[in-house]
């Protein structure tokens, strides 16, 4: 799928770009002669906290599972609305993974492999990210979802994704409780995630209520 390989390549590119921004390599494309300041990480990012870093690292992994879920939709759901919704979630969260990775890389923080969570989950609720993050599905639930189709899949997908989204909102709230989310980019990013996922939850509830009963 173009989208998934785009993440890996783009992540790699952004990491290379970030680590090249040491003033030693010229910018990727040289602009016309001007008084424009030379490239380089002369920018000193505004202060951020460990809670901000943990939030971004965790959310990358959280988003990755959402993408694993949306990846199941095309082959399993005939519901046109659900397919559109899944596309939107996919496009949004793919991009957000890139944004989060860039934020971490620009600050020299570790960028997690989005899919490392699969091993952690399989091994039990341990791993680098501790207990399972809010709203994340267990391996059994993912298998259940992957085994479904038609209306039964639709219902499971919506219920699981709603819980998953609520989990993301919980992470935003926990970030604020921990005194994070004050740095400008984090603040803006967390606000965007909150606003979009909140609206998506409402739409998913809507869709759940109109699914045929007993599916």
């Amino acid at each position: 799928m173009i989208g998934r390989s785009r993440i890996v390549i783009a992540l790699a590119t952004s990491l290379v770009a970030a680590s090249c921004v040491g003033g030693t390599a010229p910018p990727a494309s040289a602009p016309a002669p001007s008084a424009e300041p030379a490239g380089g990480p002369a920018r000193a990012p505004a202060p951020y906290t460990r809670a901000d870093v943990a939030f971004m690292q965790g959310m990358i992994v959280h988003h990755a599972q959402a993408l694993d879920m949306t990846a199941l939709v095309p082959a399993r759901s005939g519901n046109a609305s659900l397919r559109i919704l899944a596309e939107r979630i996919e496009a949004t969260q793919e991009d957000e993974i890139l944004r989060m990775s860039r934020w971490l890389a620009a600050r020299g923080e570790t960028v997690p492999d989005p899919h490392a969570y699969r091993e952690h989950m399989a091994a039990g609720a341990g791993g680098a990210h501790g207990t399972r993050m809010p709203g994340m599905l267990s391996p059994e639930q993912m298998e259940q979802l992957a085994a479904g189709s038609g209306h039964a899949f639709d219902r499971m997908f919506l219920q699981f994704m709603i819980e998953h989204h609520i989990g993301a909102l919980t992470m935003v709230e926990e970030l604020q409780q921990a005194g994070g989310g004050l740095e400008a980019e984090i603040y803006r990013f967390a606000s965007d995630v909150d606003a979009d996922q909140r609206a998506e939850i409402a739409r998913m509830w809507d869709m759940l209520t109109v699914l045929p009963r007993g599916s």
Partner: protein, 589 residues
């Protein structure tokens, strides 16, 4: 090594491989566009530009104190929204505001820079009162730059600031109205029957403050607390003679179900599991645009677009609501001049994401345009999105804009962040089309930095753009196949005293030959085209007559003739004939 670790290994290898080798292989490229706006050379002050049917007549970089040359994308000092009064332009920022003298729009001069941190800095102006929205936690009541700390800080400010700008060189904060969620945006509301007060509708979308910081703020769900800070807007009443006494007079539950009184009325319903209700709802408005002349307002509220009756400004009542069938979520709204159409924008990605990729769904991150029946019912008619892809280096999505007062047409100038400005005609809401544009290459060649046009607004003959990273742009329309000089002249003849984008005033045109000719140019494009040569000749003949009885009676006769033609026209042409007839009658006075 298990293959699932290959991804991590790839990243590791690439990182360790440092900067000397060729970049990694390109992902499959989307189809390249032939539009000149695709793939423009990057740069801060010297980015390549693509332009059509507008010209850039002035540019000012952000002033000292409002930019960091080492971090062009530092939003904390970037420009945000704008407001206008007389010959003054007020540009908001996450760091305060700047006031420009635009008496000569081709040469704006900075009059005042005022530092007062706290995004987003959305401004409105009414008389000598400047209102500024603040939601970010670093903002202080005293406008200090040292920031705040902790979850509870008595110095923190989140809400709407009110400045007295009677002395433009020395703005004075006279009030700072705190709200539970801060103010992401706000809307100035006026009532033509009341010249003693104005109101401010506050749209708060950020987290609820702890009770210890602001008494009465509750983040509990409505089922637990009917005084919850969610599911409402705040309304501040501002006594014009004593703005320091501005206070919240109401916090209406505009999402409530009128039948059941359920506060979370636009949420589908219960029974979906414990703990679900508190987080999963339309509980906030991003932006509200009021049109006091018609007593209506359009609210872009999370997943819903809502219509409000504001005949009683302190007690707005919801009269209609819509969901987009394509799952767009709306952030702002604009009416056309006749309030027969309302346009909602979907700020997908929040403005910080490149959402104009060739692979992106064209109905997302776009405008959804609705017909407004009887000014009380909305019906989806069509979509408009920037009709050119932009790169991953350019944050891009539908953002703020305003109506260009060309009589007889609905035209809007809109900002698309680093997608530039697009000017489009939505007279037929089902078939909008672009008529002009301006775009620059990305501000940074290596990585996406948050920049681009936050707002582009028409004001007294020019279009002003607030560019987050680059500063102030001023544009002028130029004639094209889509817009004649007469139409431009007619638009430029409209003069207003002040302008706030979320407070729409009805445009009225003077009765002039220019306006009449503009309408004839439009009619020439449609089924009335066969008559136009004759009418133009007649108009020229009448204009050449000396002012007096003969001219007046010729104008009256022409007005009647045009009115009689209305029966043969439909849609926009019928409206144009009506306006033309009114213009000719007006000239006869």
């Amino acid at each position: 090594m298990p293959t699932r670790f290959a991804g991590a290994a790839l990243l590791l290898v690439v990182t360790l491989g440092a900067c000397t080798t060729a970049p990694p292989p390109e992902a499959p490229t989307p189809p390249v566009s032939t539009d000149p706006r695709y793939g423009l050379e990057p740069g801060w002050r010297d980015a390549e530009v693509a332009v059509s049917a507008v010209e850039l007549v002035a540019h000012r970089d952000r002033p000292a104190g409002f930019f960091d040359p080492d971090n062009l994308g530092d939003l904390l000092v970037g420009f945000s929204d704008m407001a206008f009064r007389g010959d003054l332009l007020f540009v908001g920022s996450f760091h305060g505001f700047n006031i420009y003298d635009i008496s000569n729009p081709s040469s704006p001069t900075l009059r005042t820079s005022f530092v007062c941190p706290g995004g987003q800095g959305d401004p409105s102006i009414y008389g000598d009162l400047l209102f500024i929205s603040v939601e970010m936690p670093n903002a202080r009541i005293d406008c200090g730059t040292q920031g705040t700390s902790g979850a509870v800080d008595p110095d923190r400010f989140r809400g709407v600031r009110i400045f007295d700008v009677s002395d433009i060189d020395n703005p004075r904060q006279v009030a700072a109205v705190q709200t539970c969620r801060g103010s992401h945006t706000h809307t100035l509301v006026t009532d033509e029957d009341n010249d003693e007060v104005v109101w401010i509708y506050v749209s708060g979308t950020a987290g609820v403050r702890p009770e210890a910081e602001l008494a009465g703020c509750s983040a509990r769900p409505p089922a637990e607390d009917t005084a919850t800070a969610y599911f409402r807007i705040e309304i501040i009443e501002v006594p014009l003679s004593a703005p320091q006494n501005a206070t919240i007079v109401n916090a209406p539950r505009i999402f409530a179900d009128p039948a059941t009184g359920e506060i979370a009325g636009l949420w589908p319903g219960g029974g979906h599991g414990a703990g679900s209700q508190e987080t999963s709802t339309t509980n906030q408005c991003h932006d509200i645009t009021v049109y006091p002349h018609y007593d209506i307002a359009a609210g872009a509220c999370s997943g819903n677009g809502i219509l409000l009756d504001i005949s009683d400004p302190v007690n707005p009542v919801r009269i209609d609501e819509v969901l987009d069938p394509n799952f767009a979520y709306w952030h702002s709204a604009n009416f056309n001049n006749d309030a027969t159409t309302v346009l909602f924008t979907d700020e997908w990605g929040g403005g910080g994401a490149p959402r104009c990729l060739a692979t992106d769904n064209p109905r997302w991150g776009a405008n959804a345009i609705f017909r407004l029946e009887d000014r009380s019912e909305m019906e989806l008619a069509g979509y408009f999105k920037l009709p050119v892809p932009q790169t991953e280096l350019e944050n891009c999505v539908a953002h703020n804009g305003s109506i260009i007062p060309v009589p007889g047409r609905d035209i809007m100038a809109q900002a698309w962040y680093q997608g530039g400005m697009s000017i489009f005609d939505f007279t037929d809401p089902a078939n909008p089309y672009e008529i002009a544009y301006f775009d620059r290459g990305p501000i940074d060649a290596r990585q996406m930095q948050l920049a681009g046009l936050w707002s582009t607004y028409w004001y007294n003959g020019r279009i002003y753009g607030s560019e987050i990273g680059r500063g102030l742009d001023v544009f002028r329309l130029t004639p094209s196949e889509h817009l004649t000089q007469n139409e431009i002249d007619a638009a430029e003849s409209v003069v207003v005293d002040f302008f706030n984008a979320q407070h729409q005033d009805r445009f009225e045109w003077p009765a002039t030959f220019t306006v009449a000719r503009a309408l004839l140019d439009q009619l020439a494009r449609g089924t009335m085209g066969g008559h136009i040569a004759q009418w133009r000749a007649e108009l020229d003949r009448i204009e050449a007559l000396a002012a007096g009885a003969e001219r007046r009676s010729a104008l009256t006769e022409a007005a009647e003739g045009v009115a009689a033609m209305r029966a043969h026209a439909t849609g926009a042409d019928a409206r144009r004939l009506e306006l033309l007839s009114e213009t000719l009658s007006g000239l006869a006075q």
